[in-house]
Subunit: 456 residues, 2 copies
């Protein structure tokens, strides 16, 4: 069986609903459908989730929200009308349910937000089930509570509980097509709790792992995953196959197609993922698998991300001082700061981290503590760093991979601020100034992929 | 004024003593001479220091040592005879002094070793002073106690005390040529304590800093410092100039010409160092200075060292776990282990360290603790790693430096296990398997220096 998850743009309108129905009908193996909330229909459109957040914020501030609530209902009603569905009963239900949630959680901002946001997916799943039934499918809405998606009780940051998987397994034995809303689960105390970013992907992945699906299909609005961000390189190469490890490194460092946290359940259960296009389901898509033949393709992709900074400390004979690095990391930990990398020289150590973590006075506190407690000769914070990750299973044993990258930088006259290679077997990291990062990515793309034809 | 330090081979025989005297006579600015113990005269010769260690070990084991003590005296007597010196009184003094030391410290191994080893330099300085006087120089032996070299009281690992510098300053006002033994100082409780490896270099550097010398001359047995180890590359390029930072990185990672710890006092006092050849004092030698023009020569040298290992741990979503790296380093610190570098990926972290630190059961204890306390998915220790350091002031802004190195590796078909660049402004580090390290160094030498003529 297949678990098919449809992203926001795939379920944004009646037209998109029809495409989804067509996809579901065309393969009897597609027995579980996970849906997002309606996304944008056009560039300046507002996502359902954002409307719901507006309601929540108005409630918290004690402001009027009825007009936004009407807009929410109208959005669903518009889809229903376009599908020629009699959905007035569902619309009444949705309205009543939203009012109930507002009433229940009026004084608990986090719970209110989670409940309202989750309703976007929840009601869309109900509408999808109704539509699939209307065209003759034996479809059923299944709530996450009924399915068995139990999560930790931290609003906005739910983590799946292991006991869920046993319950989810039973979904296999249900008949027909099951429509499950993405993005949220239930805590053991009965509260709705949403997953972190990429939430619907996470639901799909959990359900696929739970039922032991043959494949987890992730329907989105692109034909495939590209080897590099298409907003940086025009019409870049499409990936036919990529491994879990490659996907994870790429997602972490800037690829937004498939969120890294969503990969864990299918990775552990070794369920292949296929990323496909709702608007062009005939395209083969990109397969995310455990192994690929990487002899001809040592590099799978190039990702980049900005907004990093480097804390650079130097101290003569630092290298002789047992505990120096540990103490420096302890100071960051005390401030709740996570870091990416720690390149070091004999008398120097740098810590690369996301710059936004140093806001709110943390920067000065950290500088002061490092100066006072570690007696360094010098400390400087360098902002405006970008990290570029070259990712590929063939990296570890491909002698020329590093040479190709550094030659590309040299040719483009781009200075490398940092290189980190050696721990991960599938990636190599470069640090450059933010203002040259796109240029650097293009130079790397040129070096690794230029001479090759895009795969059909 | 100049402080001139002469290494073991420069003071190993009567012939070498004559060369030293000639060097001292040829420049009235050479007012302070620091001497090592007699080194090897030929390849299979035994160094004075090793004879003294033999005595110490025999004493500790309660074995006979008289014959070794005679060999020690004979070594000095041989030099004296060759210089046609009447030194029988000094020989009697040396013998009595050694017996006294053995008596005093018979039951304290560390003190005994320090006192005996230090006597090698001490008595050689006395002999040198006697010889310089005999040829008409106004020369005086000055003991480190008299000079004011006060150190911490840790046998074999003395660190200079800051109060020394005030006392040392007064040496400037003494007349004639002062001959000071290298390698040791006195603790505030009056004990002889030796410096760590490179001890005579340290004494010379401290004295040069103390008197504010115009230059610290370090006489050895090579015409200059080479840009790479001459036992790996035949007849390599000589360095005319190198900065303190470059020298320190090179010394740390395998260059034995000038010990890194010896650099600190002159580095802080900004006193230029000139490394010269006792056997060819006309050669210009290598200058170690604060700044050099590195536009044409971004790279100064290539050093390598073997005997490293890498502890590689991986854990899914490691990157989300604040404190992971700190805890890992804490475990190593608890075992008193120092590390070199910590390259990291998203789900991986490696710690590079000297492999001999894992002996004596530490390896298993560390593996157990990392597994138990950090719940890693995998931990492996990879032995047989070598580190190669490419060092140069022009590194930071020279776009092509990394490209040249990685291209050289690729051309030589050598796999790079690790690259660490970015924290130090003057070095770039590569990890390779030990069995290809010499080949890798030769490939790098070829890439950076081949087309250039050796400097005269």
């Amino acid at each position: 069986m297949k678990v098919a998850k449809f992203g926001g743009s795939s379920v944004a309108s009646a037209e998109q609903f029809r495409k989804v129905a067509h996809i579901v009908q065309s393969d009897v193996e597609r027995r579980i459908v996970v849906v997002s909330a309606p996304g944008k229909r056009y560039k300046t459109d507002t996502k359902m989730t954002d409307l719901l957040i507006q309601i929540g914020e108005a409630v918290v501030r004690g402001e009027a929200y009825e007009h936004v609530l009407e807009a929410v209902i109208e959005r669903y009603a518009d889809i229903a009308r376009g599908l020629e569905l009699s959905a007035s009963k569902l619309m009444e239900q949705i309205k009543a349910d939203l009012r109930q949630k507002i009433e229940n959680y009026r004084h608990d901002r986090d719970r209110l937000m989670d409940a309202l946001k989750a309703s976007g997916e929840d009601n869309n799943a109900k509408l999808m089930a109704l539509y699939l039934q209307s065209i003759g499918l034996n479809a059923h809405y299944v709530s996450p509570l009924d399915a068995g998606i139990f999560v930790t009780d931290e609003p906005g940051n739910a983590q799946i509980l292991q006991e869920s998987y046993k319950k989810l397994q039973q979904l296999k034995h249900r008949s027909g097509v099951l429509v499950i809303p993405g993005f949220f689960g239930y805590s053991l105390t009965g509260h709705i709790v949403t997953f972190p970013r990429g939430g619907s992907d996470i639901t799909g992945s959990i359900v696929a792992a739970g039922v032991g699906a043959d494949v987890y299909e992730n329907f989105t609005d692109v034909d495939s995953i590209y080897c590099v961000n298409p907003s940086i390189v025009e019409n870049p190469r499409q990936l036919k196959e990529i491994t879990y490890r490659e996907m994870r490194e790429l997602s972490y460092s800037g690829f937004s197609v498939f969120h890294d946290e969503a990969l864990e359940p299918v990775y552990k259960a070794r369920i292949p993922v296929c990323v496909k296009n709702t608007n062009n389901p005939e395209a083969p898509g990109t397969w995310i698998v455990a192994h690929r033949d990487h002899r001809d393709e040592p590099v799978a992709g190039i990702a980049s991300d900005t907004g990093f900074c480097s804390i650079n400390v130097s101290k003569y004979l630092m290298n002789r001082e047992i505990g120096f690095g540990r103490k420096l990391l302890q100071i960051l930990e005390d401030e709740g700061i996570s870091y990416e990398h720690t390149p070091s020289g004999i008398d120097n150590m740098s810590v690369i981290l996301r710059a936004n973590q140093l806001e709110g006075g943390k920067e000065q506190r950290i500088i002061d503590r490092i100066q006072t407690e570690l007696q360094v000769d010098d400390i400087q914070i360098e902002y405006g760093l970008a990290l570029i990750m070259v990712v590929g299973e063939g990296m570890e044993r491909a002698v020329g991979v590093a040479a190709k990258a550094t030659a590309a930088f040299a040719k483009a006259n781009i200075n490398i601020e940092m290189i980190n290679q050696g721990s991960s077997e599938v990636s190599m990291m470069f640090g450059v100034k933010e203002n040259v990062v796109d240029q650097a990515v293009r130079a790397l793309y040129e070096a690794y992929f230029h001479s090759k034809q895009p795969l059909s």
